[in-house]
């Protein structure tokens, strides 16, 4: 850790879509905050950052205190400032919306304080007195990073198992580059590791390189934050054609290397969620002349955020609402996507077929749920591929916790951070009470 990123990455072409505030702008914007009591923005934030308090600190020239307030509640506050859908979270809850005044730009203020913390090298947290307890964290994404950091503050030794060569999970491989690029995620992961005492085993896939059950020999508790798996396949004729790809896989390629768009004139993105919208915006930004989103429902029921679709539309995206792909056609390489209109049940209506010329089709209809990997462990319930947990992330098997996409089915980075932190505190409580996996090597270690 960290792995070097390739020098040439397609995502490098992107500029921030939300420019940072200048120090003077930050003070003015912070000065607008009403300092609400029991503020709705705090309630709306999954990590419950004390937003009015950190904003007041910025307004009074105490950026360091502001950064501490943010990171105290959310150690991934720097990336969340960039990647959170603030429009539907804190900013959407700002009371100024009801006053028909512009809401406080909370995300940008959070970015102001946390970027400053990174630039100045401010550190706020120290590892707790060693407890002698060891916790394994499976998966190196946001949930595990947040959990590990909190566990270290509480004095527990941590080991992160990450199958890739680097940390950050989807924060590194999946964030739309106009929000955040991969290197920023790696910087944040390193910053989190700065607390010390977090061992990272990259290239180690639990379940393949490390048997799940073996973890109980070495560790007092296990946190599972393995995220989601590969793109769900379209299962349509022609999906083996060159130019038909999973959207998540393509986004990762674009972020960590070359997006392979040199000869692409027309792209179709299948799906109506936020991954589809990200892909649409990225294809347009990288110069694909025609990008069409194909969604089986109508605009008002799409899963993706309305503000993201509005931005995609502004960038020139087209959409075919209430339409599905029925086949990919071409000789060796994709030439067109055959589509059909859908009925109320979102099923193809016979006789309504049409084609869209395309040399790239990205399938964004979901990702595999990896909870099944835990299905063999007694006490752990997996439903629809998602690990069932309580509010603390507890799975039902002593010492075993889960959080992030593998347990919530796929939400935001900020949800993963909140769940990781909650699980860390619950692990600490369980271990303090004498619980845990009943680590086998306890006496010999």
């Amino acid at each position: 850790m960290p792995a070097e990123l390739p020098a040439v990455r397609s995502e490098a072409a992107f500029e921030d879509y939300k420019l940072p505030l200048s120090p003077a702008q930050a003070v003015v914007e912070a000065g607008r905050c009403l300092f609400c009591h029991d503020a709705p923005c705090v309630t709306a934030c999954p990590t419950h950052i004390d937003i009015p308090q950190f904003i007041r600190k910025i307004a009074n020239g105490n950026d360091r205190g502001a950064a501490r307030t943010i990171l105290e509640s959310n150690i991934l506050g720097m990336s969340c400032a960039r990647v959170c859908p603030v429009e539907v979270l804190c900013v959407g809850a700002c009371v100024y919306n009801d006053l028909e005044e512009p809401p406080i730009q909370i995300g940008k203020l959070q970015r102001h304080a946390t970027d400053r913390a990174f630039e100045e090298g401010w550190r706020f947290f120290e590892a707790g007195a060693p407890t002698g307890r060891r916790v394994a964290l499976v998966g190196g994404g946001p949930a595990s990073l947040a959990a590990a950091h909190e566990l270290r503050r509480l004095g527990h030794a941590c080991t992160i198992f990450e199958r890739r060569g680097f940390l950050g999970g989807l924060n590194t491989t999946g964030i739309a580059p106009h929000k955040m690029k991969a290197d920023r995620s790696l910087t944040e992961a390193e910053w989190v590791l700065g607390i010390g005492g977090i061992e990272v085993r990259t290239g180690a896939e639990v379940g393949r390189d490390v048997p799940l059950a073996d973890l109980e020999c070495e560790f007092d508790a296990v946190f599972v934050g393995i995220g989601l798996g590969a793109d769900t396949r379209a299962a349509l004729p022609g999906e083996e054609l060159r130019g038909v790809q999973g959207a998540v896989a393509w986004i990762e390629r674009m972020k960590l290397g070359d997006a392979g768009l040199a000869d692409v004139r027309s792209a179709v993105v299948i799906g109506g969620g936020n991954t589809a919208l990200d892909a649409v915006r990225e294809l347009l930004a990288l110069g694909v002349p025609q990008v069409t989103m194909l969604y089986r429902g109508s605009e008002d029921v799409m899963g993706g955020y309305a503000h993201e679709w509005a931005a995609a539309k502004d960038a020139g995206a087209r959409a075919e609402w209430r339409a599905v792909a029925v086949a990919f056609e071409g000789a060796g390489a994709l030439e067109r996507v055959r589509c059909a209109r859908t009925d109320e049940a979102r099923k193809p209506i016979p006789g309504t077929e049409f084609t869209i010329a395309a040399d790239l089709a990205l399938v964004a209809i979901g990702q595999a749920k990896l909870g099944v990997a835990l299905a063999g462990l007694a006490g752990i319930r997996v439903e629809g591929g998602v690990v069932r947990v309580d509010a603390d992330g507890f799975t039902g098997r002593p010492g075993w916790y889960a959080g992030g996409d593998c347990a919530n089915g796929g939400k935001e980075v900020v949800n993963a951070a909140a769940e990781g932190m909650a699980a860390a505190r619950a692990i600490d409580r369980e271990l303090a009470a004498g619980g845990g996996t009943g680590r086998k090597d306890k006496n010999g270690a």
Binding site: G31, A39, P40, D98, L99
Partner: protein, 422 residues
Amino acid sequence: MPDLSTDTGGIRSPNPFWLASAPPANSGAQIQRAFDAGWGGAVWKTLGTPIQNVSSRFGGHTIGGARGAGFNNIELITDRPVEVNLREIAETKKRWPHNPIIVSLMVETREEWREIIKRSTDAGADGLELNFGCPHGMCERGMGSAVGQEPAVNERITSWACEFSTVPVLVKLTPNVSDIVPHGMAAKRGGAHGVSLINTIKSIISVDIDRFVPEPRVGGLSTNGGYCGAAVKPIALHMVAALAREPGFGLPISGIGGVRNWRDAVEFMLLGSSTVQVCTEVMLRGYRVVEDMRDGLEEYMRAKGFARVHDMVGKAVPAFSEWGDLDMNYETVARIDAEKCIGCQLCVAACHDGAHQCIHPQEGSRVPRVDESECVGCNLCQIVCPAPGCITMERVENGYRPATWNDHVSHGAALRPKKGAH
């Protein structure tokens, strides 16, 4: 169309807006530009034995992002030769015969007063203003507020000035006293035709927390300065009103202190000022601020049916009373309009931490609830509420007849039960 012209102790002005004696009224060129912009009159920056000034001279107090909401200075009287000032006064009067120039003066001896008054009136002064107020620099030399703080000295010098002057004399009072009334009465006994107040307030505007030196900083030192600007208006209003309601005072008042716009001016007028003087707002924004002052005053007078400025002067003075004369049985409570509430709950925090703990959050709603049986009608919630018209203070009929504290003490008038006494 309402008539904006005024008469303050015999000084007639086309409108009630005067430049105060200060940097904006330092030279003929400036004052002529001000008259071009629409100012009614100007009080020329104080003449006296020319002094020398320091760098820097001004300090600003930023409140919630509002720069210069408070302001102070350590600048002294004019630093230009008297004859240059007098020549420019004459030139300006020639160009603007109908806009009064009031010459501010500050000298020491009777002979000096005789001479400077003669020269000023010869140059065309329409009135004089005796600077008994400057709280920095000049007072250390026995002038300015050193005079204004001693009624006997004030009276003596005022009487000299009135003896020598052929034009009306205004006395400019310092607020750096515990009660303004004896000082206004001293000016009256000396024969003044009017008073102007307030001069600036003795102050330290701020401290440079990196250098450990107060501001404005002159090298490694600072000194107390005169505080002014929007933030001092409440103090100025009180002093103006205290004189306006004083039986036996009765002199015209030129109000000064934090006038930023026509609304501020109207407040000064309703409390007894026939003209207002402005400095800080001009220093911060320039002479053209007078346009809305005139325009807004005219619209206000039209809306209220005042034909002349003097019809409104002092209108609110009878309503300025002593605490013991207030009706203890007048009762109000806060009401929250749920339709207008934005759910910020600033009222909850304010009431719980800063008032009487009677506004409570409600389960399942962001709109708080007022416990009217505990609400003392203090206004705090209405003051903090950012949603226009959301919180109103409503009169409550409680069946008690009006009774003041004085009534209660003198003849046992019945008072309603106390509220908010948990």
